[in-house]
């Protein structure tokens, strides 16, 4: 879960009452006022130094013509103004068109991956609510993909997706689903999108499962009993009891998964070995190619900044909408 995500200020409501601070605190207020800041200093310094300042440098880079002629000495890099952004958004140029294509691929990938992960996670969490023999074993097994380091998981999938030597084509052939003499490719061409999606879902659904399982533990059993007495079937219970109770979990979970998946670099990088096929050209790997491989760091930075702005807008919009809905609910 590197460079993963966690959502913005969405900590659920229900904080302990502290709006009326006890008188004791007020009395010692002067002495204490600096303490919280002191406690925050290490965290603030680190985030500032490792994330915020480099990010601002990145924004500065996006305004420079920072190619191989200038990377060694930035002071010689001509100020490019918004030129890099112009190229980024110019849909008449191959660069702009490819970036847009990559954006759509990433959007489709994120939507499907988050949706499927959430559904699988919910199914497993709901079906593991009731005690049965082997439940603890299954729960442990289902969490394993989340605990596995990304690269070992993805390297294994790469091996499984090999056309001639992989498990996937072998199993599909044994099931009679593909022509064994002319099996499909998974790591190049059209299917590469499917392969990427499968790996992504395999890696992220256990996280959804974990969160939803934790959320379900907070649902009082009486609610189910009551709805069972009302004669509600499985789907009614799911709709009327489970899902409403999971709403706060979902609000956070979906956002985390969205940001995590949209920015995902590790999975495509390891799966396709650095350069993704066009059909699976995720935006993170696209930007990596545009900066590191073609040595145009100004352009790559401009693309990154555009991506960051997009994520900020989406996140802010999402939080506004979901919070408003919650207040209305």
């Amino acid at each position: 879960m590197a460079t993963t995500t966690a959502p913005g200020p969405v900590r659920p409501a229900g904080r302990p009452a502290e709006d009326g601070p006890p008188s004791r605190r007020r009395r010692r207020g002067v002495r204490r006022s600096y303490l919280p800041y002191l406690l925050l200093v290490p965290a603030a310094l680190l985030e500032l130094g490792i994330h915020v300042v480099p990010m601002l440098v990145g924004v500065w880079m996006s305004l420079l013509e920072l190619t191989q002629f200038h990377i060694r000495d930035w002071s010689t890099a001509p100020f490019a103004g918004l030129d890099n952004y112009r190229v980024t958004f110019d849909l008449d140029s191959a660069t702009g068109r490819d970036l847009l294509h990559s954006f759509w691929v990433t959007t489709a990938y994120t939507t499907l991956s988050v949706g499927l992960s959430w559904m699988l996670g919910l199914a497993a969490a709901v079906f593991l609510q009731r005690p049965f023999k082997g439940r603890a074993l299954l729960r442990t097994l289902f969490l394993t993909p989340y605990a596995l380091p990304v690269y070992t998981a993805v390297i294994t999938w790469t091996f499984m997706f090999q056309r001639d030597t992989g498990l996937v084509n072998h199993a599909l052939d044994q099931l009679g689903l593909v022509d064994g003499a002319n099996p499909p490719f998974w790591l190049i061409g059209e299917n590469s999108f499917v392969a990427l999606l499968v790996v992504s879902v395999w890696r992220s659904w256990p996280f959804a499962f974990l969160c939803l399982m934790a959320g379900l533990q907070n649902v009082p059993a009486e609610l189910y009993e009551a709805s069972a007495i009302d004669g509600a079937n499985f789907w009614r219970r799911l709709r009327d009891v489970t899902l409403p109770m999971l709403r706060p979990v979902n609000q956070v979970l979906l956002l985390v998964l969205f940001l995590w998946t949209f920015n995902d670099f590790n999975t495509p990088y390891v799966l396709f070995g650095g350069s993704a096929p066009r059909q699976a050209d995720l935006i993170s790997i696209h930007i990596y190619q545009s900066s590191f491989v073609t040595w145009n760091f100004g352009l790559g930075s401009a693309m990154s900044v555009a991506l960051l702005l997009f994520l900020l807008v989406v996140t802010a919009g999402y939080l506004l909408v979901t919070n408003r809905r919650r207040e209305h609910a």
Binding site: M1, A2, T3, A6, P7, G8, P9, R11, P12, R15, P16, E18, D19, P22, L39, L40, A43, E47, G49, I50, V52, M55, V57, G58, M61, F127, L138, T140, F142, L143, T144, P145, Y146, A147, P149, V150, Y151, T152, I155, T156, F159, T165, L167, N169, H170, L210, C211, A214, Q217, N218, F234, V252, N266, Y269, S284, I287, S291, F297, V305, L308
Partner: protein, 279 residues
């Protein structure tokens, strides 16, 4: 509340399919690690033509796996410990105090998690190099630099989870300690921390896994001496051959400690998440 027949079958089918989906790569990893090279170069077979432990022996020679393992262990565990320590203080401040800038801090820290890594990779690299030149502290291509980088990756989520956890600890406990004359830090160490153990364990595990699995920064910010498993494992694709069997064997070896650790502590993780993140 009884389970209907339809429900029972649905449960069996869904859980069965999920089990297969989860197991397939794990099976490939383990079984291919026991295959001779010829087996993994030809068409896939469910079972090895002969079971061999050679890959588990040879993998230490093909790449310096031992060194990568030590590096990963050092970097990931120090990043986890430091990150959690810092997160505890920050979470304590946010949970127990109202102060100017509290909201700003939370929002800023959490939004850093949105930054695409690729945007600040090169700047960070240059900052490390220049800091190194100015101060003599090696940050670039060193385990120290990698540790600092990784601990900031897990910090925001850790703080956020711990704030949730601390919030769930009744304030009455603090008050009681304060009546007894305990200062804020003693309150933190003697009252809050012992109660928050599950949350702290959960956050430590999360921070460790974050550092253990990172690829992008490891590929640019390490050299031969500081290289971690994330990059080192790619070494099984050599100039001559892809040693899939050794790669799988190595994957098993480097996965086992984290997986076992995580699964052993999963109870805490779920508890921590319940109280913290998803309350």
């Amino acid at each position: 509340m009884r389970e209907s027949t339809g429900e029972r079958w649905a449960r069996r089918v869904v859980l069965g399919l999920l089990t297969l989906f989860v197991l397939a790569p794990l099976y490939v990893m383990v079984s291919s690690g026991l295959k001779p090279l010829r087996d993994v170069q030809g068409a896939f077979t469910w079972l090895p033509s002969r079971v061999t432990f050679e890959p588990f022996v040879e993998m230490w020679q093909t790449v310096p796996l031992g060194r990568y393992l030590v590096n990963s262990l050092l970097v990931a565990s120090s990043a986890a410990l430091v990150s959690v320590a810092i997160a505890i203080f920050a979470a304590f401040a946010i949970s127990r105090y109202r102060f100017r800038g509290r909201q700003l801090f939370s929002v800023t820290v959490l939004s850093t998690q949105m930054f695409p890594g690729i945007l600040f990779l090169l700047p960070l690299f240059l900052i490390y190099v220049n800091l190194g030149n100015a101060t003599g502290i090696e940050l670039y291509a060193s385990r120290l630099g990698l540790t600092i980088t990784y601990l900031t990756f897990s910090l925001p989520f850790s703080i956020w989870m711990l704030v949730g956890y601390f919030d769930s600890i009744p304030r009455g406990l603090d008050e009681a300690a304060q009546v007894d004359g305990a200062g804020p830090l003693r309150t933190l160490f003697q009252v809050i921390l012992p109660t928050a153990v599950p949350g702290i364990v959960a956050v430590t595990v999360y921070a460790f896994m974050t550092a253990w699995g990172e690829v992008l920064f490891a590929s640019v910010m390490t050299d031969e001496h500081s290289r971690t498993l994330a990059v080192g494992l790619q070494g099984y694709a050599t100039q001559y051959n892809v040693y899939w069997n050794q790669a799988m064997a190595a994957s098993v070896v480097v996965s086992v400690p984290v997986v076992v650790g995580f699964l052993a502590l999963q109870r805490y993780f779920v508890a921590g998440l319940t109280a913290g993140a998803v309350k």
